[in-house]
């Protein structure tokens, strides 16, 4: 195993898993809907690192192409919930 594979397997993926557990905790117990959406948002953004790291680990270029879509999806979730909360056109 090269240095990068050791780093990804033994440092990046365990630390990311710990962050995921904490994000899920906030998404579960967050008192308002905004907290839950914020936690889900950061969760999806961090999933893009996971996809890139696993794609590099298993040498699969297709995995990394999904990261752009994931980032756009989390942004769409933000805008959708903000519009739902304001009950109207954004920017009025």
């Amino acid at each position: 195993m090269s240095l990068i594979e050791v780093l990804i397997s033994y440092v990046v993926l365990p630390v990311l898993s710990l962050s995921y557990a904490l994000y899920l905790l906030v998404a579960y117990r967050g008192p308002t809907i905004s907290d839950r959406v914020l936690a889900a948002d950061v969760f999806f953004y961090s999933t893009s690192i996971l996809f890139g790291a696993i794609g590099l680990l298993i040498r699969s270029p297709i995995m990394t192409a999904c990261t752009v879509v994931l980032v756009l999806w989390a942004y769409a979730l933000d805008i959708y919930v903000a519009k739902y909360l304001e009950r109207g056109e954004l920017g009025d």
Partner: protein
Amino acid sequence: MIEEIVRYVGAALLVLGTFINLVGAIGLNRFKNFYLRLHAATVSTIGGTFYPLLGLALISFSTKDLGEWRFFMGGSLVVAAFVLLILAPAGSHALARATHRTSVSRPEPIIADHLEEDRGR
């Protein structure tokens, strides 16, 4: 030579950014209300996701055994990193604006809220 340097810079960015991501996750759990949590979420978005994506892109560019596909991997990761750099603050801003306007979460403790006073509530 230059490939080795790019590779180690990418590895350093990846590992540092992952730890910043963990710090942001801890802050998201520890802070008291939504507006303070927004600060921790920003730490883990820009510091914890933008830098690791750039690091992964640098590692991909310097990985020879991927062949020509390494440009595809690195390019898509760079595009994802910069799309995130532009869109994540916009999304957080829209969410914070909607939360403040509809009073879903109250900012506490608070000294003055001029935005609320201007709206005349």
